[in-house]
Structure formats: structure tokens, C-alpha cells
């Protein structure tokens, strides 16, 4: 049933560049990137019960490393991508050790503080990061000699990466490890008594989420061909977190829907409203009031209720 319902969606995603204009194709690419980012954050927030307000660190650092290596040190895109992902993973491992000393609000504050440090560095270390000017004039990679400069070709590349990311994370949460993670979220004490190491499970998840955050960062910098400290800012982290919660944390579809919602609001509302954040806030408030568990679980519940009503 689920697979049949997914077929039109898959067809739409594959065929989008054939009928949509560049503006919409580019918008779709941005949504895919934001979706990978939100999905990685959802591993922490939804499946791990670790609410992070500093996830932009991984997107930003992944992007910055790649930008610096390709523009300043003459690295090719391949090696730059590998170094940037390795660097992001190492950073997640280190940050995880610090942040996982706490849970709940303490964890949130530490992740926020760490990401603010990076944001401050990106702003102030202008001899390296070019500060508020950002790093411009970047190029997109050419995997197997295929240019990604057109909107459609980049979209297909982003779609491929997003599909792999979605699949990998879907398998991750349904795996034994994913079950352990959910168990540790719900009953950490019980899980420890059953032989699971809660800290290690959280730490590995933290690193895995950092990895996908880094991947989304690479796509982000490839897409924009530019990087600015705002990518590391609290706004960037908070938007993703809002997307995850609005869409439905702890579900696979939720973060994707949420990320799309935030991005569409940003793109459309900001054309008419200077304070588009206010509209985002109102929409978020509406969702929280009407569907406290998020759009995707909320709609799913509505559907079952309708189906029951029809019977």
C-alpha cells in the first residue's frame, strides 16, 4: 500500500526537471539539501531524544572545509570532499564527548554553545574564513566528468544523494542499533540493565548525524558556490529544528516535509514580507496547537480517523 502511494511521488521527483522551470528546479534542490540536513538532525532529536540547537556546525564546517580547500589550497573536489567529511566526523566525535556529558536542556545548551563558538570563529577569523564577506567564486564538482552547472543536472545529483541519505537513515532507524537508540530514548535505565551501553549508543548516533550534516553541507556549498558565516548561525540550526518538530520528529517523512515547509515559506513569504520569520512563527504555532506531534503524524492520524468514519 505504502509503495503504491509512493510511486507518483517518485515519478514526480524524477521528472521534475522536464516540466518545471529553473527557479522551481533550484528550489527543489534546496529542499533536498535541507531535507538531508533535517533528517540527520532528526536522528538526534526524534530517535535519540537529544534536542540539539547546534546542528548547523556540521553543515557549516563541512561546507567551509570544502570551500577553503578548493578555493585556497588548490585541492580537487574529490579529495576536498573526503577531507571535509572526515573532518566533520572527527569534530562530531569530539563535540559528542563534550555534549553527551549532559542530557535534555544541558545537552541543548552545550550544542548551542559549541556551534556559537564556530560561528564566532567564522566571523572573526577573517584571515582564514574571509569573515563577513564569505568565500565566493567557488565551483561545483564534476563527478565522472558530468558538469553540475545547470539547474537540472545539479538537481539530479542532489536527488541521488538525498535518496541514498534517506534510504541509509531509514535502514539505520529500523536496524538493531536504531531499536537500541529508541530504547535508550524511552527507558535509558532499563536499557542499561538489559546490557546496552546508553552513552556509546548516543555517541555513535551523534557522530552519524554529524556525518550526514557534513554531507548536506557539501551539497549546500556546491549549490550556492558561496559560503557565509550565517550557515553556522543559530538561525540555521533553529530553522532545521523547527522543520523537524513541525514535520514530525521521530518519523522519516516528517523532517522532509518540515524542511520543505520552512524553505517554501522562506522563499515565498520573504518576497512579500520583510519579517518572514514572524510568519514562520505563526505557522509553527498553528502546527503545534493543531497537531502537537507534527504534520506527518497528524495527517496520518486524520487519515485513519477518516477511514474509520467512512466504514
Amino acid at each position: 500500500m505504502k509503495w503504491i502511494a509512493a510511486t507518483p511521488l517518485v515519478a514526480l521527483l524524477l521528472l521534475l526537471p522536464f516540466f518545471a522551470g529553473d527557479f522551481y528546479v533550484n528550489l527543489a534542490s534546496q529542499i533536498l539539501i535541507a531535507a538531508i540536513f533535517a533528517l540527520s538532525l532528526n536522528l538526534l532529536v526524534g530517535y535519540g531524544g537529544m534536542t540539539s540547537l547546534g546542528h548547523a556546525s556540521y553543515l557549516g564546517v563541512g561546507a567551509y572545509i570544502s570551500a577553503l580547500l578548493t578555493s585556497r589550497y588548490g585541492f580537487g573536489h574529490g579529495p576536498a570532499a573526503i577531507i571535509s567529511i572526515t573532518g566533520t566526523i572527527a569534530m562530531a566525535a569530539f563535540f559528542g564527548v563534550i555534549a553527551l556529558r549532559a542530557t535534555g536542556l544541558g545537552f541543548l545548551m552545550i550544542t548551542l554553545a559549541l556551534s556559537q563558538v564556530l560561528w564566532g570563529l567564522a566571523y572573526r577569523m577573517s584571515n582564514v574564513t574571509n569573515g563577513d564577506n564569505g568565500i565566493a567564486g567557488l565551483t561545483r564538482p564534476m563527478p565522472f566528468g558530468i558538469s553540475l552547472d545547470s539547474a537540472a543536472s545539479f538537481y539530479r545529483f542532489a536527488l541521488l544523494v538525498a535518496a541514498v541519505a534517506f534510504l541509509m537513515m531509514a535502514i539505520f532507524v529500523s536496524s538493531s542499533f536504531g531499536s537500541s537508540l529508541k530504547g535508550v530514548r524511552d527507558q535509558p535505565r532499563r536499557m542499561a540493565a538489559l546490557g546496552f551501553n546508553p552513552w556509546m549508543i548516543r555517541w555513535i548516533t551523534f557522530i552519524y548525524a554529524g556525518f550526514w550534516g557534513g554531507v548536506s553541507g557539501l551539497l549546500y556549498v556546491y549549490y550556492n558556490k558561496y559560503i557565509h558565516p550565517t550557515s553556522l548561525s543559530i538561525t540555521s540550526s533553529a530553522e532545521a529544528l523547527l522543520g523537524v518538530i513541525a514535520g514530525g520528529s521521530g518519523t522519516l517523512g516528517g523532517p522532509v516535509v518540515g524542511a520543505a515547509l520552512v524553505l517554501l515559506l522562506k522563499n515565498y513569504a520573504s518576497a512579500y514580507l520583510e519579517r518572514w520569520n514572524m510568519l514562520l512563527g505563526l505557522v509553527f504555532l498553528f502546527i503545534v496547537l493543531m497537531m502537537p506531534t507534527g504534520i506527518v503524524p497528524g495527517l496520518a492520524r486524520l487519515m485513519t480517523r477518516l477511514r474509520r468514519g467512512l466504514r
Binding site: 537500541s180 524511552d186 546496552f196 552519524y208
Partner: protein, 247 residues
Amino acid sequence: MTPHALEIINLHKAFGGLSVTQNVNLAIRPGERRLIIGPNGAGKTTLFNQISGDMRPNSGQISLFGTDVTQFAPYKRAHFGLSRTYQIITLFTGDTLEHNVTLGLLGLRSSRWQMWRPLSFYGDLTAEAHRTLDAVGLLHLAAHPVSDIAYGEKRRVELAMALAQKPRVLLLDEPLAGLSNTERSQVKSLIASIPRETTVIMIEHDMDTALDLAETVTLLNYGRVIVDGDRDSVIADERTREVYLGV
């Protein structure tokens, strides 16, 4: 001489000025059925929490089969053959009974680290979970979420999760609490059927049922061991009457 299944030496635990475990010494043989009794606040569950590692004692030593585990994290003790149930039911309420028991099985297997293979592909885990649920008489509810089942059934799931691990030492914290008479006798025969390879240490207030299951009894009061010995002598002891039975 074979080492004791559980040996506790000079255990002490205090919350501020309140000593909840004072100079406790216990030695339990492999396969023994030990009942721990005492009035409310005697420090029975606190003692269990120290044995399972949820709480660290201030001083003293806890050994399992001759190995000092005092500094071990709870999960490490589980791999050493220790399982426990909780007085306050601690289950994964949104998940099915099958999933709950599967988690118990998974906890001791290295496949718990597997990230690239859906859990549902492990047919042997599911089969084993079904066997355990069958043993506690809940197989027909395997696919139901825990939130759907009755209180007495939840108590049996608690037990099933621990039994699935085939522990060497099993700590049961009031396994009969809040059960009806029929449920009581069900759980009682379940505990009675636990194989002798498992040492059972049980906290229980229902003396009629618990005494049938126990071979040895320890009476705690204000964190101290008051009387300790085989069942009949502890029950006959004057101090037991004074502190606990109140007759």
C-alpha cells in the same frame, strides 16, 4: 569451593545524613532462592539498585561469581549474567510485547550494534522472543503494544524480558505487586519454574506466596541486615516478628 553467585561485603550507602544501606553483608550460593523482606523504607530496592549498578555504594564491595563488579557500569553487569525487574513497571509502552522481549535478547548480542540490517530480518530473535512469551503465557498478545495490555500481563512481560536473557543471577523487585489472586498463582508458578542455573533474589511483601518460593530469607530494617538464614529459622526468629510480621 565454588564462589558465591553474589557476595556483598560491608556495603554502605548514604544520602546525605541518611544511611540507607549500613554495613550489609550477604552471601548467596549459585542456584539459591533468596527472599529479601523488611518494612517500607528498609532499603531493599536501594540494595537492588546497588547490585544492578544503578547506584554506586559509598563503600563496600559487590562480587558476582567471584569477580568484583563494584565499579562496573550496569550494562557490563548485565553481560556478566545479571538481570533485574522493576518494582515500578519499566517497559517500552509504545512497542509490541514481541519488541520488548526482543530488546531483552538483543542486549546481550553483538548484533545490537548492527546499523545496516533491519531488525525484522533477524528471524531467530523473533522466534526466541515468541518462545519466551509463550513460556509466560502471553504469546497470543505478542503483536499488541504494551499500552494495550492489562497490568498483570505487564508484570509478566517484565519477567519475560529478564528471563529471555537466561541470567545467572535474577533480581526480582516485587514481582507480585498489585496482582489479583489468579495472576499471583500464575506468576508464582512461573518463578517456581525458573531453572536452577539461575540464582533468584526476590523482594516481596506477599509472604504467603513468597515463602513458598524461598529457601533462605534476609530481613532488612533501616538499611541493616537484622536476620539472615534459612527460611524457617528466620520466620521463627523473634526479631522477625518484632520488626516485620508484627504479631
